[in-house]
Protein backbone atom coordinates (compact mmCIF):
# COMPACT_ATOMS: atom_id res chain seq x y z
CA UNK A 1 0.00 0.00 0.00
CA UNK A 2 3.11 2.13 0.15
CA UNK A 3 2.75 2.70 -3.59
CA UNK A 4 -0.63 4.36 -3.28
CA UNK A 5 0.39 6.91 -0.71
CA UNK A 6 3.31 7.91 -2.92
CA UNK A 7 1.04 8.04 -5.95
CA UNK A 8 -0.98 10.79 -4.37
CA UNK A 9 1.99 13.11 -4.91
CA UNK A 10 1.73 12.87 -8.71
CA UNK A 11 5.46 12.95 -9.37
CA UNK A 12 4.88 12.15 -13.01
CA UNK A 13 1.86 12.29 -15.28
CA UNK A 14 0.49 9.83 -17.82
CA UNK A 15 1.23 12.35 -20.53
CA UNK A 16 4.86 12.47 -19.44
CA UNK A 17 5.05 8.68 -19.46
CA UNK A 18 3.83 8.70 -23.06
CA UNK A 19 6.33 11.37 -24.04
CA UNK A 20 9.16 9.42 -22.37
CA UNK A 21 8.16 6.33 -24.30
CA UNK A 22 8.25 8.37 -27.50
CA UNK A 23 11.63 9.92 -26.67
CA UNK A 24 13.04 6.51 -25.70
CA UNK A 25 11.51 4.82 -28.75
CA UNK A 26 9.82 2.14 -26.69
CA UNK A 27 6.29 1.28 -27.61
CA UNK A 28 4.07 0.75 -24.59
CA UNK A 29 0.45 -0.28 -24.35
CA UNK A 30 -2.29 1.60 -22.51
CA UNK A 31 -2.12 -0.88 -19.66
CA UNK A 32 1.65 -0.55 -19.43
CA UNK A 33 1.36 3.23 -19.28
CA UNK A 34 -0.42 2.83 -15.96
CA UNK A 35 2.13 0.39 -14.67
CA UNK A 36 5.02 2.64 -15.63
CA UNK A 37 3.28 5.58 -14.02
CA UNK A 38 3.02 3.74 -10.72
CA UNK A 39 6.50 2.27 -10.70
CA UNK A 40 8.20 5.40 -11.89
CA UNK A 41 6.33 7.54 -9.40
CA UNK A 42 7.50 5.39 -6.55
CA UNK A 43 11.11 5.39 -7.71
CA UNK A 44 11.19 9.10 -8.50
CA UNK A 45 9.67 9.84 -5.14
CA UNK A 46 12.61 8.02 -3.59
CA UNK A 47 15.09 9.93 -5.77
CA UNK A 48 13.63 13.17 -4.54
CA UNK A 49 15.29 12.64 -1.19
CA UNK A 50 18.20 14.44 -2.87
CA UNK A 51 16.12 17.62 -2.74
CA UNK A 52 16.90 17.95 0.93
CA UNK A 53 20.66 18.43 0.42
CA UNK A 54 22.11 21.83 -0.22
CA UNK A 55 24.18 21.46 -3.39
CA UNK A 56 24.51 25.16 -4.06
CA UNK A 57 27.91 25.91 -5.56
CA UNK A 58 29.01 22.25 -5.60
CA UNK A 59 30.75 21.24 -8.83
CA UNK A 60 29.28 18.11 -10.41
CA UNK A 61 31.53 15.05 -10.79
CA UNK A 62 31.27 13.92 -14.39
CA UNK A 63 34.54 12.02 -14.28
CA UNK A 64 36.09 10.46 -11.21
CA UNK A 65 39.59 10.48 -12.65
CA UNK A 66 41.77 13.52 -13.17
CA UNK A 67 42.69 12.71 -16.77
CA UNK A 68 42.62 15.50 -19.36
CA UNK A 69 43.62 15.86 -23.02
CA UNK A 70 43.50 12.21 -23.98
CA UNK A 71 43.86 12.25 -27.74
CA UNK A 72 45.35 10.25 -30.58
CA UNK A 73 47.35 11.02 -33.72
CA UNK A 74 45.47 11.72 -36.93
CA UNK A 75 46.60 8.49 -38.54
CA UNK A 76 44.13 6.32 -40.45
CA UNK A 77 44.14 2.58 -39.89
CA UNK A 78 42.98 -0.25 -42.06
CA UNK A 79 39.58 -1.64 -41.10
CA UNK A 80 37.59 -4.66 -42.23
CA UNK A 81 34.25 -3.20 -43.34
CA UNK A 82 32.94 -6.40 -44.89
CA UNK A 83 32.97 -8.30 -41.63
CA UNK A 84 30.90 -5.49 -40.08
CA UNK A 85 28.33 -5.83 -42.84
CA UNK A 86 28.03 -9.57 -42.31
CA UNK A 87 26.03 -9.03 -39.12
CA UNK A 88 23.71 -6.35 -40.51
CA UNK A 89 20.14 -7.75 -40.36
CA UNK A 90 18.85 -6.24 -43.65
CA UNK A 91 21.02 -4.99 -46.50
CA UNK A 92 20.37 -3.68 -49.97
CA UNK A 93 23.53 -3.94 -52.04
CA UNK A 94 26.21 -2.45 -49.84
CA UNK A 95 23.68 -0.24 -48.08
CA UNK A 96 22.19 -0.89 -44.66
CA UNK A 97 18.44 -0.90 -45.10
CA UNK A 98 16.40 1.22 -42.71
CA UNK A 99 12.64 1.65 -42.52
CA UNK A 100 11.10 4.52 -44.45
CA UNK A 101 11.39 8.04 -43.05
CA UNK A 102 7.89 9.42 -43.68
Amino acid sequence: MKVNTHMAKEVITLEEVRRLAWLSKIKISKREERRYLNEMSEILEYFRMLDEIDTEGVEPTYHVIELVNVTREDAPQQTSPDSLLEIVPVMKGRYVKAPRIV
Binding site: V64, S83, L84
Partner: protein
Protein backbone atom coordinates in the same frame (compact mmCIF):
# COMPACT_ATOMS: atom_id res chain seq x y z
CA UNK B 1 34.88 -33.89 -8.35
CA UNK B 2 38.54 -34.07 -9.36
CA UNK B 3 40.84 -32.17 -7.05
CA UNK B 4 42.41 -30.21 -9.88
CA UNK B 5 39.21 -28.17 -10.25
CA UNK B 6 39.63 -26.94 -6.70
CA UNK B 7 43.17 -25.68 -7.18
CA UNK B 8 43.96 -21.99 -7.30
CA UNK B 9 45.10 -20.51 -10.61
CA UNK B 10 48.73 -20.26 -9.58
CA UNK B 11 48.83 -24.01 -8.78
CA UNK B 12 47.29 -24.89 -12.12
CA UNK B 13 49.84 -22.76 -13.94
CA UNK B 14 52.68 -24.39 -11.99
CA UNK B 15 51.42 -27.91 -12.62
CA UNK B 16 50.91 -27.43 -16.34
CA UNK B 17 54.28 -25.80 -16.73
CA UNK B 18 56.07 -28.76 -15.13
CA UNK B 19 53.78 -31.05 -17.14
CA UNK B 20 52.34 -32.63 -14.03
CA UNK B 21 48.99 -32.25 -15.73
CA UNK B 22 48.09 -31.21 -19.23
CA UNK B 23 45.93 -28.19 -19.96
CA UNK B 24 43.77 -30.46 -22.09
CA UNK B 25 43.06 -32.79 -19.17
CA UNK B 26 42.22 -29.93 -16.87
CA UNK B 27 40.01 -28.10 -19.38
CA UNK B 28 38.22 -31.36 -20.17
CA UNK B 29 37.52 -31.77 -16.46
CA UNK B 30 36.10 -28.25 -16.39
CA UNK B 31 33.64 -29.14 -19.12
CA UNK B 32 32.78 -32.41 -17.37
CA UNK B 33 32.01 -30.39 -14.28
CA UNK B 34 29.97 -27.88 -16.31
CA UNK B 35 27.94 -30.76 -17.74
CA UNK B 36 27.12 -31.92 -14.23
CA UNK B 37 26.63 -28.62 -12.44
CA UNK B 38 25.34 -26.20 -15.00
CA UNK B 39 22.00 -27.83 -15.68
CA UNK B 40 21.34 -27.08 -12.01
CA UNK B 41 22.68 -23.54 -11.70
CA UNK B 42 22.61 -22.21 -15.26
CA UNK B 43 25.73 -20.07 -14.96
CA UNK B 44 26.59 -20.19 -18.67
CA UNK B 45 24.83 -18.80 -21.72
CA UNK B 46 27.43 -19.97 -24.22
CA UNK B 47 30.13 -22.62 -23.94
CA UNK B 48 33.26 -22.52 -26.06
CA UNK B 49 34.36 -26.10 -25.61
CA UNK B 50 35.88 -26.73 -29.04
CA UNK B 51 37.80 -23.52 -28.96
CA UNK B 52 38.93 -24.08 -25.36
CA UNK B 53 40.21 -27.60 -26.10
CA UNK B 54 42.01 -26.42 -29.19
CA UNK B 55 43.69 -23.67 -27.17
CA UNK B 56 44.50 -26.17 -24.43
CA UNK B 57 46.26 -28.53 -26.86
CA UNK B 58 48.11 -25.64 -28.40
CA UNK B 59 49.39 -24.46 -25.01
CA UNK B 60 50.34 -28.05 -24.10
CA UNK B 61 52.35 -28.43 -27.24
CA UNK B 62 54.19 -25.19 -26.60
CA UNK B 63 55.03 -26.37 -23.10
CA UNK B 64 56.27 -29.69 -24.47
CA UNK B 65 58.47 -27.85 -26.92
CA UNK B 66 59.91 -25.87 -24.01
CA UNK B 67 58.48 -22.56 -25.24
CA UNK B 68 57.52 -19.74 -22.94
CA UNK B 69 53.89 -19.60 -21.86
CA UNK B 70 51.92 -16.84 -20.16
CA UNK B 71 51.20 -16.13 -16.50
CA UNK B 72 47.74 -17.67 -16.74
CA UNK B 73 48.80 -20.63 -18.87
CA UNK B 74 45.85 -22.98 -19.17
CA UNK B 75 43.67 -21.36 -16.52
CA UNK B 76 39.94 -21.74 -17.23
CA UNK B 77 38.22 -18.36 -17.26
CA UNK B 78 34.49 -17.72 -17.47
CA UNK B 79 33.56 -14.35 -18.95
CA UNK B 80 30.45 -12.30 -18.29
CA UNK B 81 28.35 -12.02 -21.40
CA UNK B 82 28.65 -8.25 -21.63
CA UNK B 83 32.37 -8.47 -22.45
CA UNK B 84 32.98 -8.74 -26.19
CA UNK B 85 34.64 -11.92 -27.42
CA UNK B 86 35.61 -12.10 -31.06
CA UNK B 87 33.68 -14.75 -32.91
CA UNK B 88 31.79 -15.79 -29.77
CA UNK B 89 28.19 -14.69 -29.23
CA UNK B 90 27.94 -11.85 -26.71
CA UNK B 91 24.34 -11.33 -25.67
CA UNK B 92 24.22 -9.17 -22.53
CA UNK B 93 21.53 -11.71 -21.61
CA UNK B 94 19.21 -9.75 -23.86
CA UNK B 95 16.96 -10.80 -26.70
CA UNK B 96 18.25 -7.65 -28.37
CA UNK B 97 21.72 -9.19 -28.78
CA UNK B 98 20.72 -12.84 -28.82
CA UNK B 99 22.70 -13.52 -31.98
CA UNK B 100 25.30 -10.75 -31.78
CA UNK B 101 28.80 -11.99 -32.59
CA UNK B 102 31.46 -9.30 -32.08
CA UNK B 103 34.30 -9.01 -34.57
CA UNK B 104 36.61 -7.76 -31.85
CA UNK B 105 37.89 -8.82 -28.46
CA UNK B 106 37.60 -6.58 -25.45
CA UNK B 107 41.03 -5.39 -24.32
CA UNK B 108 40.79 -7.60 -21.23
CA UNK B 109 40.12 -10.62 -23.44
CA UNK B 110 43.16 -9.82 -25.57
CA UNK B 111 45.21 -9.63 -22.40
CA UNK B 112 43.88 -12.89 -21.00
CA UNK B 113 44.62 -14.62 -24.30
CA UNK B 114 48.09 -13.11 -24.40
CA UNK B 115 48.76 -14.75 -21.02
CA UNK B 116 47.40 -18.08 -22.32
CA UNK B 117 44.24 -18.16 -20.22
CA UNK B 118 41.54 -20.39 -21.70
CA UNK B 119 38.04 -18.96 -22.04
CA UNK B 120 35.50 -21.69 -21.37
CA UNK B 121 32.29 -19.75 -21.93
CA UNK B 122 30.14 -16.71 -21.46
CA UNK B 123 28.17 -16.31 -18.27
CA UNK B 124 24.65 -15.34 -17.42
CA UNK B 125 23.77 -11.95 -16.01
CA UNK B 126 20.93 -9.52 -15.52
CA UNK B 127 20.05 -8.09 -18.91
CA UNK B 128 22.57 -5.36 -19.75
CA UNK B 129 23.86 -5.72 -16.17
CA UNK B 130 20.73 -4.11 -14.79
CA UNK B 131 19.86 -6.02 -11.68
CA UNK B 132 21.18 -7.54 -8.50
CA UNK B 133 19.93 -11.10 -8.78
CA UNK B 134 20.53 -12.46 -12.31
CA UNK B 135 16.80 -13.05 -12.49
CA UNK B 136 16.48 -10.35 -15.15
CA UNK B 137 18.22 -12.44 -17.81
CA UNK B 138 16.24 -12.96 -20.99
CA UNK B 139 17.49 -16.56 -20.92
CA UNK B 140 16.35 -17.51 -17.43
CA UNK B 141 17.95 -17.00 -14.03
CA UNK B 142 21.15 -18.40 -12.60
CA UNK B 143 20.72 -20.17 -9.26
CA UNK B 144 22.82 -19.90 -6.17
CA UNK B 145 25.18 -22.90 -5.90
CA UNK B 146 24.66 -22.86 -2.12
CA UNK B 147 20.90 -23.06 -2.34
CA UNK B 148 19.20 -23.69 -5.63
CA UNK B 149 16.09 -21.89 -4.51
CA UNK B 150 17.96 -18.66 -3.98
CA UNK B 151 19.46 -16.03 -6.24
CA UNK B 152 23.22 -15.88 -6.81
CA UNK B 153 23.20 -12.08 -6.70
CA UNK B 154 23.90 -9.99 -9.72
CA UNK B 155 24.34 -8.74 -12.16
CA UNK B 156 27.44 -10.94 -12.62
CA UNK B 157 25.59 -13.93 -11.15
CA UNK B 158 26.81 -16.40 -13.74
CA UNK B 159 30.44 -15.40 -13.29
CA UNK B 160 30.27 -15.78 -9.51
CA UNK B 161 28.23 -19.00 -9.57
CA UNK B 162 30.51 -20.66 -12.14
CA UNK B 163 33.57 -20.06 -9.94
CA UNK B 164 31.75 -21.00 -6.73
CA UNK B 165 30.67 -24.30 -8.28
CA UNK B 166 34.13 -25.11 -9.71
CA UNK B 167 33.03 -24.85 -13.34
CA UNK B 168 35.82 -22.35 -13.92
CA UNK B 169 38.84 -21.37 -11.87
CA UNK B 170 38.38 -17.62 -12.20
CA UNK B 171 35.97 -15.33 -13.99
CA UNK B 172 35.42 -11.80 -15.17
CA UNK B 173 32.39 -9.78 -14.25
CA UNK B 174 31.61 -6.12 -14.41
CA UNK B 175 30.79 -3.90 -11.48
CA UNK B 176 28.64 -0.82 -12.04
CA UNK B 177 27.06 -0.51 -8.61
CA UNK B 178 28.12 -3.72 -6.97
CA UNK B 179 27.50 -6.18 -9.79
CA UNK B 180 30.61 -8.21 -8.95
CA UNK B 181 30.74 -7.76 -5.19
CA UNK B 182 27.08 -8.64 -4.72
CA UNK B 183 27.21 -12.06 -6.42
CA UNK B 184 30.68 -12.68 -4.91
CA UNK B 185 29.11 -12.16 -1.51
CA UNK B 186 26.06 -14.32 -2.25
CA UNK B 187 28.14 -17.10 -3.81
CA UNK B 188 30.97 -17.14 -1.25
CA UNK B 189 33.76 -16.04 -3.58
CA UNK B 190 36.12 -13.06 -3.85
CA UNK B 191 35.30 -10.13 -6.16
CA UNK B 192 37.40 -7.01 -6.60
CA UNK B 193 36.14 -3.83 -8.20
CA UNK B 194 39.24 -1.86 -9.24
CA UNK B 195 39.76 1.89 -9.15
CA UNK B 196 37.95 3.52 -12.08
CA UNK B 197 40.30 3.67 -15.05
CA UNK B 198 42.62 0.88 -13.95
CA UNK B 199 41.08 -1.74 -16.26
CA UNK B 200 40.20 -0.88 -19.84
CA UNK B 201 36.50 -0.74 -20.63
CA UNK B 202 37.09 -1.24 -24.35
CA UNK B 203 34.81 -4.11 -25.30
CA UNK B 204 32.68 -3.92 -22.19
CA UNK B 205 29.13 -3.29 -23.39
CA UNK B 206 28.23 -0.11 -21.60
CA UNK B 207 25.53 0.17 -18.99
CA UNK B 208 26.82 3.21 -17.06
CA UNK B 209 30.20 4.32 -18.38
CA UNK B 210 31.28 6.64 -15.58
CA UNK B 211 30.67 4.03 -12.90
CA UNK B 212 31.68 0.63 -14.19
CA UNK B 213 34.80 -1.45 -14.28
CA UNK B 214 35.51 -4.98 -15.44
CA UNK B 215 36.29 -6.90 -12.28
CA UNK B 216 37.81 -10.30 -11.50
CA UNK B 217 36.19 -13.02 -9.43
CA UNK B 218 38.04 -15.94 -7.83
CA UNK B 219 37.79 -18.42 -5.03
CA UNK B 220 40.91 -16.97 -3.42
CA UNK B 221 42.38 -13.52 -2.98
CA UNK B 222 45.50 -14.70 -4.78
CA UNK B 223 43.50 -15.69 -7.86
CA UNK B 224 41.83 -12.31 -8.00
CA UNK B 225 45.22 -10.60 -7.67
CA UNK B 226 46.63 -12.77 -10.45
CA UNK B 227 43.84 -11.88 -12.86
CA UNK B 228 44.08 -8.18 -11.99
CA UNK B 229 47.81 -8.19 -12.74
CA UNK B 230 46.97 -9.57 -16.16
CA UNK B 231 44.08 -7.34 -17.20
CA UNK B 232 44.99 -3.95 -15.66
CA UNK B 233 47.04 -1.13 -17.15
CA UNK B 234 46.74 1.57 -19.75
CA UNK B 235 44.83 1.05 -22.99
CA UNK B 236 44.92 3.68 -25.71
CA UNK B 237 41.47 2.62 -26.92
CA UNK B 238 39.84 3.77 -23.67
CA UNK B 239 40.17 7.52 -23.06
CA UNK B 240 39.35 7.04 -19.38
CA UNK B 241 42.12 4.49 -18.91
CA UNK B 242 44.74 5.75 -16.48
CA UNK B 243 48.29 6.00 -17.60
CA UNK B 244 49.84 3.29 -15.46
CA UNK B 245 51.25 -0.10 -16.16
CA UNK B 246 49.60 -3.29 -14.92
CA UNK B 247 49.27 -3.77 -11.19
CA UNK B 248 51.54 -6.12 -9.26
CA UNK B 249 49.04 -7.18 -6.65
CA UNK B 250 50.53 -10.64 -6.29
CA UNK B 251 53.41 -9.01 -4.45
CA UNK B 252 50.92 -7.77 -1.85
CA UNK B 253 49.70 -11.20 -0.81
CA UNK B 254 51.07 -10.51 2.64
CA UNK B 255 49.66 -11.87 5.87
CA UNK B 256 50.04 -8.73 7.95
CA UNK B 257 47.51 -6.13 9.00
CA UNK B 258 49.36 -4.58 11.89
CA UNK B 259 48.73 -0.87 12.04
CA UNK B 260 45.99 -0.96 9.42
CA UNK B 261 43.33 1.55 10.44
CA UNK B 262 39.81 0.35 9.67
CA UNK B 263 36.87 2.72 9.57
CA UNK B 264 33.41 1.29 9.95
CA UNK B 265 30.75 3.60 8.49
CA UNK B 266 27.56 3.45 10.52
CA UNK B 267 25.51 4.28 7.43
CA UNK B 268 26.55 0.96 5.88
CA UNK B 269 25.05 -0.96 8.76
CA UNK B 270 21.67 0.66 8.24
CA UNK B 271 18.26 -0.50 9.40
CA UNK B 272 17.85 -2.93 6.49
CA UNK B 273 20.94 -4.90 7.51
CA UNK B 274 20.13 -8.43 8.64
CA UNK B 275 21.53 -9.38 12.01
CA UNK B 276 23.36 -12.45 10.75
CA UNK B 277 25.13 -10.27 8.19
CA UNK B 278 26.06 -7.67 10.75
CA UNK B 279 27.35 -10.33 13.12
CA UNK B 280 29.37 -12.02 10.41
CA UNK B 281 31.00 -8.81 9.29
CA UNK B 282 31.86 -7.74 12.83
CA UNK B 283 33.31 -11.14 13.42
CA UNK B 284 35.71 -10.53 10.53
CA UNK B 285 36.56 -7.05 11.69
CA UNK B 286 37.27 -8.32 15.19
CA UNK B 287 39.50 -10.97 13.72
CA UNK B 288 41.52 -8.27 11.98
CA UNK B 289 41.73 -6.28 15.21
CA UNK B 290 43.06 -9.40 16.85
CA UNK B 291 45.73 -9.51 14.16
CA UNK B 292 46.89 -5.95 14.80
CA UNK B 293 44.48 -3.69 12.90
CA UNK B 294 42.72 -0.84 14.63
CA UNK B 295 39.09 0.00 14.14
CA UNK B 296 36.78 2.88 14.75
CA UNK B 297 33.18 3.60 13.85
CA UNK B 298 32.67 6.63 11.64
CA UNK B 299 29.76 8.46 10.21
CA UNK B 300 29.59 9.58 6.59
CA UNK B 301 26.37 11.53 6.31
CA UNK B 302 26.41 11.80 2.54
CA UNK B 303 26.25 8.02 2.11
CA UNK B 304 22.57 8.21 2.88
CA UNK B 305 22.16 9.77 -0.55
CA UNK B 306 24.50 7.44 -2.43
CA UNK B 307 21.83 5.02 -3.64
CA UNK B 308 19.56 7.67 -5.14
CA UNK B 309 22.49 9.50 -6.66
CA UNK B 310 23.87 6.26 -8.10
CA UNK B 311 20.61 5.16 -9.68
CA UNK B 312 19.93 8.53 -11.28
CA UNK B 313 23.40 8.65 -12.85
CA UNK B 314 23.38 5.01 -13.91
CA UNK B 315 19.93 5.23 -15.49
CA UNK B 316 20.74 8.49 -17.25
CA UNK B 317 23.86 7.08 -18.84
CA UNK B 318 22.08 3.84 -19.65
CA UNK B 319 19.24 5.60 -21.45
CA UNK B 320 21.80 7.05 -23.83
CA UNK B 321 24.05 3.98 -24.11
CA UNK B 322 21.18 1.71 -25.03
CA UNK B 323 19.81 4.04 -27.70
CA UNK B 324 22.03 2.36 -30.29
CA UNK B 325 19.97 -0.82 -30.22
CA UNK B 326 17.64 0.01 -33.07
CA UNK B 327 18.03 -3.15 -35.14
CA UNK B 328 19.73 -1.51 -38.11
CA UNK B 329 23.40 -2.45 -37.85
CA UNK B 330 23.21 -5.52 -35.64
CA UNK B 331 20.95 -7.27 -33.20
CA UNK B 332 17.25 -7.95 -33.03
CA UNK B 333 15.02 -6.67 -35.83
CA UNK B 334 11.37 -7.24 -36.56
CA UNK B 335 9.73 -6.98 -39.98
CA UNK B 336 9.14 -3.29 -40.60
CA UNK B 337 7.91 -2.87 -44.16
CA UNK B 338 4.58 -1.53 -42.97
CA UNK B 339 5.74 1.35 -40.80
CA UNK B 340 8.05 4.35 -40.56
CA UNK B 341 11.40 4.30 -38.79
CA UNK B 342 10.16 5.70 -35.50
CA UNK B 343 7.42 3.11 -35.18
CA UNK B 344 9.82 0.36 -36.28
CA UNK B 345 12.41 1.35 -33.66
CA UNK B 346 9.74 1.51 -30.97
CA UNK B 347 8.46 -1.98 -31.79
CA UNK B 348 11.96 -3.44 -31.94
CA UNK B 349 12.91 -2.00 -28.61
CA UNK B 350 9.65 -3.07 -27.05
CA UNK B 351 10.30 -6.67 -28.07
CA UNK B 352 14.08 -6.71 -27.69
CA UNK B 353 14.38 -5.30 -24.17
CA UNK B 354 13.12 -6.80 -20.94
CA UNK B 355 11.05 -4.93 -18.34
CA UNK B 356 13.86 -3.76 -16.08
CA UNK B 357 15.89 -2.40 -19.00
CA UNK B 358 12.88 -0.51 -20.34
CA UNK B 359 12.10 0.86 -16.91
CA UNK B 360 15.62 2.18 -16.51
CA UNK B 361 15.75 3.68 -19.99
CA UNK B 362 12.49 5.53 -19.31
CA UNK B 363 13.68 6.77 -15.93
CA UNK B 364 17.06 7.82 -17.31
CA UNK B 365 15.38 9.66 -20.15
CA UNK B 366 13.26 11.43 -17.57
CA UNK B 367 16.25 12.39 -15.41
CA UNK B 368 17.99 13.97 -18.40
CA UNK B 369 15.02 15.65 -19.99
CA UNK B 370 14.40 19.37 -20.16
CA UNK B 371 12.90 20.58 -16.93
CA UNK B 372 14.16 17.67 -14.84
CA UNK B 373 17.89 17.67 -15.64
CA UNK B 374 18.79 20.04 -12.82
CA UNK B 375 16.63 18.34 -10.25
CA UNK B 376 17.81 14.80 -11.01
CA UNK B 377 20.90 14.32 -13.16
CA UNK B 378 22.82 17.45 -12.21
CA UNK B 379 21.89 17.21 -8.55
CA UNK B 380 22.97 13.57 -8.45
CA UNK B 381 26.35 14.48 -9.95
CA UNK B 382 26.75 17.19 -7.31
CA UNK B 383 25.86 14.81 -4.53
CA UNK B 384 28.49 12.54 -6.01
CA UNK B 385 31.02 15.31 -5.41
CA UNK B 386 29.91 15.62 -1.79
CA UNK B 387 30.31 11.87 -1.33
CA UNK B 388 33.78 11.90 -2.85
CA UNK B 389 34.79 14.81 -0.66
CA UNK B 390 33.55 13.14 2.47
CA UNK B 391 35.33 9.92 1.54
CA UNK B 392 38.61 11.63 0.88
CA UNK B 393 38.35 13.35 4.28
CA UNK B 394 37.70 10.05 6.00
CA UNK B 395 40.58 8.35 4.17
CA UNK B 396 42.95 10.80 5.86
CA UNK B 397 42.27 8.96 9.11
CA UNK B 398 41.62 5.45 7.86
CA UNK B 399 43.31 3.09 5.45
CA UNK B 400 40.18 1.13 4.62
CA UNK B 401 36.47 1.20 5.26
CA UNK B 402 34.81 -2.06 6.28
CA UNK B 403 31.14 -2.93 5.87
CA UNK B 404 28.80 -5.68 4.76
CA UNK B 405 28.83 -6.18 1.01
CA UNK B 406 25.13 -6.96 0.99
CA UNK B 407 22.78 -5.97 3.79
CA UNK B 408 20.94 -9.27 3.43
CA UNK B 409 21.52 -12.96 2.83
CA UNK B 410 20.83 -14.49 -0.57
CA UNK B 411 17.08 -14.37 -0.97
CA UNK B 412 14.60 -16.63 -2.68
CA UNK B 413 13.96 -16.39 -6.39
CA UNK B 414 11.20 -13.98 -7.26
CA UNK B 415 11.13 -12.52 -3.76
CA UNK B 416 12.05 -9.01 -4.86
CA UNK B 417 11.01 -9.07 -8.48
CA UNK B 418 7.70 -7.37 -7.95
CA UNK B 419 9.06 -4.25 -6.32
CA UNK B 420 11.93 -2.69 -8.28
CA UNK B 421 12.76 -0.18 -5.56
CA UNK B 422 13.13 -2.93 -3.00
CA UNK B 423 15.58 -4.64 -5.33
CA UNK B 424 17.54 -1.39 -5.79
CA UNK B 425 17.82 -1.03 -2.01
CA UNK B 426 20.00 -4.14 -1.89
CA UNK B 427 22.82 -2.14 -3.53
CA UNK B 428 22.95 0.34 -0.70
CA UNK B 429 26.40 -0.70 0.54
CA UNK B 430 28.11 -1.21 -2.80
CA UNK B 431 27.23 1.83 -4.92
CA UNK B 432 29.44 4.25 -3.00
CA UNK B 433 32.65 2.76 -4.39
CA UNK B 434 31.36 3.22 -7.94
CA UNK B 435 30.23 6.79 -7.37
CA UNK B 436 33.64 7.68 -5.98
CA UNK B 437 35.62 5.53 -8.39
CA UNK B 438 37.48 3.86 -5.53
CA UNK B 439 38.46 0.19 -5.31
CA UNK B 440 36.45 -2.24 -3.22
CA UNK B 441 36.57 -5.95 -2.55
CA UNK B 442 34.09 -8.48 -1.23
CA UNK B 443 35.41 -11.59 0.45
CA UNK B 444 33.54 -14.37 2.28
CA UNK B 445 33.70 -13.79 6.01
CA UNK B 446 31.01 -15.94 7.52
CA UNK B 447 27.94 -18.01 6.81
CA UNK B 448 24.46 -18.36 8.15
CA UNK B 449 22.46 -21.55 7.69
CA UNK B 450 24.84 -22.57 4.94
CA UNK B 451 24.55 -19.28 3.05
CA UNK B 452 27.69 -17.20 2.54
CA UNK B 453 28.16 -13.70 3.91
CA UNK B 454 30.64 -11.26 2.44
CA UNK B 455 32.58 -8.40 4.00
CA UNK B 456 33.39 -5.38 1.88
CA UNK B 457 36.50 -3.24 2.13
CA UNK B 458 36.87 0.05 0.32
CA UNK B 459 40.21 1.81 -0.17
CA UNK B 460 41.39 5.15 -1.55
CA UNK B 461 42.01 5.28 -5.31
CA UNK B 462 44.76 2.93 -6.54
CA UNK B 463 45.18 1.27 -3.14
CA UNK B 464 44.17 -2.18 -4.37
CA UNK B 465 47.38 -3.31 -2.67
CA UNK B 466 45.80 -2.60 0.75
CA UNK B 467 42.61 -4.43 -0.20
CA UNK B 468 44.62 -7.45 -1.29
CA UNK B 469 46.76 -7.47 1.82
CA UNK B 470 43.86 -7.20 4.25
CA UNK B 471 41.68 -9.68 2.34
CA UNK B 472 44.53 -12.12 2.10
CA UNK B 473 45.20 -11.89 5.81
CA UNK B 474 41.54 -12.39 6.61
CA UNK B 475 41.29 -15.35 4.24
CA UNK B 476 44.25 -17.04 5.96
CA UNK B 477 42.78 -16.46 9.39
CA UNK B 478 39.13 -17.35 9.02
CA UNK B 479 37.92 -20.92 9.19
CA UNK B 480 34.90 -20.89 6.95
CA UNK B 481 32.63 -23.81 6.54
CA UNK B 482 31.30 -23.16 3.07
CA UNK B 483 30.28 -26.02 0.80
CA UNK B 484 28.22 -25.45 -2.32
CA UNK B 485 25.19 -27.66 -2.79
CA UNK B 486 26.08 -28.68 -6.36
Amino acid sequence: MPRILELPASEIVRKVKVQEISVEEYISECFERIRTADPKIHAFLTLTEDYALMRAREIDSRIRRGEKVGSLAGVAVAVKDNICTMGVRTTCASKMLESFIPIYDATVIERLKAQDAVIVGKTNMDEFAMGSSTEQSAFGPTLNPYDLERVPGGSSGGSAASVASFEATVSLGSDTGGSVRCPASFCGVVGLKPTYGLVSRYGLIAFANSLEQISPIGRTVADVATVMDCISGHDSRDSTSVNTGPTSLRSHLIEDVSGIRLGVPKELFGEGTEEAVSKGVWNAINRLIGLGATCEEVSLHSLKYALASYYIIAMSEASSNLARYDGLRYGFRLEDDDCDWSEAYSRNRREGFGPEVKRRIMLGTYALSAGYYNQYYLRAQRVRTLIRQELSRVFKNFDLLASPTMPILPYRLGEKLRDPLEMYMCDVDTVTANLAGIPAVSIPCSSHQGLPIGVQFMAPPFREDLLIRVSYTLEKNLELDLKPAV
